[in-house]
């Protein structure tokens, strides 16, 4: 029997006809991680077959539905691979426990991205699958806005890294707006993102998801890629319009010498501006550091104590009897991380922005056919449905079988 007394102000009475009930609590542990991992693996293999072998948008859609049910509602969407890189980081920096299962959960989608592109986003990610299914009337985002917003995930990624290294909670998990949906709960961001998702394709994946940054990087060098069959393409532009994410780029005619010269000038100017941009990023990060560090609980607690404000945290701190010096030490460490990490993150973000701009300036080369920007393709299969040749093939299949 477990017995304890916190403070025995009143000794337990002795009863005549009454036995003291034992405290029994359910010790059930929910689905072991191995089920999640193996289901994910199977799911990704099936997605790969559907996408590359059968080239079927219908099955991709069914897979997304299955993904919502299996990974969203049955496995309750959390822990999911999207949040896992925080655990990995935390395990590396703070030595927090991290099981193989969680690590696999983090790595399998990346490995899949290395092999097949962002298949994970299509259906195996419950967040992506929900957005995929709920896209009703896609609005085309202006290209410049789209490009600018695409840096938000990179900025968030860097911010999350700094914040996790500084020992705060995992901020990405609070960013996930769809989790309450899978838990039959309600929050304002959930509804907002769901409504937005009716008109904007994958608002979370494209403009928020920091894990997507990693997937984007990995998918850029993936082994098998979706491609337009150049030989048979009739350049009807239907696939370009059918893609809600703007991943299909139209053919470019060979640039005139004048355009080429302008491109070179632009490129040289951009390269010259790189050091300036990096410095600017660093300075911005340095300015943001105190703002971000003010959100750190230890920093806030110390500020409260020094200003003699009362809060629950101050009360808890005083009750715990922890020496103030230890808190000050923690705060100094956290501040140190922010003071170094934020400028570094700023520099990296500026670097990413400049790299993108330079790549764009450089990209002016001739291409006679449609190309697919792998980093933007979420493997939804809408282009298959849009392509008249595919449909002809499907119709032929339909008649023969």
């Amino acid at each position: 029997m477990i017995s304890f007394l916190a403070q025995a102000r009143f000794p337990a009475p002795e009863f005549d006809n009454y036995t003291v009930p034992q405290l029994q609590l359910e010790t059930l542990v929910r689905d072991p991680i191995i089920w999640r991992v193996s289901t994910l693996l199977v799911f990704l293999v099936v997605s790969g077959l559907c996408f590359y072998r059968w080239r079927s948008s219908k099955t991709m859609r069914l897979l997304a539905l299955a993904g919502v049910v299996i990974f969203g509602f049955i496995f309750t969407a959390c822990p999911c691979p999207v949040g896992m890189f925080q655990n990995l980081l935390s395990a590396f920096v703070h030595g927090q426990p991290l099981g193989y299962g969680l690590l696999l959960l983090f790595a399998i989608p990346l490995a899949a991205a290395l092999l097949f592109g962002r298949l994970f986003c299509a259906g195996a990610c419950p967040l992506g699958a929900v957005q995929e299914l709920l896209l009703w009337k896609p609005i085309r985002i202006p290209v410049s806005v789209d490009r600018a917003l695409r840096f938000v995930p990179i900025a968030l990624f860097l911010l999350v890294v700094v914040v996790v290294v500084a020992g705060m909670a995992f901020p990405l998990c609070s960013l996930d707006p769809y989790l309450p949906l899978f838990l039959w709960s309600c929050s304002i961001p959930t509804v907002a993102f769901l409504v937005l998702g009716l008109f904007v394709s994958r608002p979370f994946c494209r403009y928020v998801c920091p894990y997507g940054v990693l997937l984007r990087l990995f998918s850029l060098v993936s082994w098998k890629t979706p491609a337009v069959t150049v030989q048979t393409c009739i350049t009807c532009r239907l696939c370009e319009q059918g893609c809600p994410n703007g991943a299909i780029l139209p053919p470019e005619s060979a640039p005139t010498s004048e355009v080429q010269a302008r491109g070179v000038r632009r490129l040289s100017r951009l390269i010259a501006a790189v050091p300036l941009a990096l410095c600017l990023g660093g300075v911005l990060g340095w300015i943001a550091a105190p703002v971000v560090s003010a959100a750190h609980p230890a920093v806030r607690l110390l500020a409260d104590i020094e200003a003699h404000r009362t809060s629950d945290a101050v009360e808890a701190f005083e009750a715990s009897g922890t020496p103030l010096a230890q808190l000050q030490n923690d705060v100094a460490q956290a501040r140190h991380v922010f003071d170094w990490g934020m400028p570094l993150a700023g520099v990296l973000l500026a670097g990413a922005v400049m790299a993108e701009l330079i790549a764009q300036a450089r990209r002016r080369r001739e291409s006679s056919s449609y190309t697919i920007d792998l980093s933007l393709c979420y493997c939804c299969g809408r282009c298959y449905a849009a392509c008249p040749l595919n449909r002809k093939r499907d119709a032929r299949k339909g008649t023969t079988t």
Binding site: R9, F10, V20, L28, F92, L114, S311, A319
Partner: protein, 182 residues
Amino acid sequence: MISTRKFLRVLFGGGLLAPFLWLAGKRKSRKAAFLWQIDPDKCIQCGKCETACVLEHSAVKCVHQYAACGYCLFCSGYYQDKRVKFDTAAENLRCPTDAIKRKYIEDPYFEYTIDESACIGCGRCVKGCAAYGNGSLFLQIRQELCKQCNQCRIAEICPSHAVVRVPADQPYIFKRPPEVKT
């Protein structure tokens, strides 16, 4: 161009492999699963558990360690500080949802039971019991309700850092486990 891509692919693949190698090196200290739990010794009953949980009704519930209960007639977890009568009238009680049930055992002792369908995990009774009683009431995350979020929302805002990760084979933290060896 192809070779660059191949090179990058190998680089990324290697990067992906690195954490596994690292983890294999630190094999010993890895437990299979970790669950969230409230350390009752650190808890200050601020009441945030009630609202912070992602679930509509928080997975945090009050539990009662009967073995430590004094079975008091005037339970300070049951009655609010300024009660005028020791009866079951609403104005005298502490629990906002009437989740504590009281049963007569023998003079002058009463058994107090938590009705978990009504308990919202606000911790008001816990505070009362800790302040004037034995502290036999305390808050725990009920593992059958908890969704095991990667980042517990309660842990994120808990002012006393009382929400901690516990190994799956010890899913609950009772106040000061016995240090008895027989």
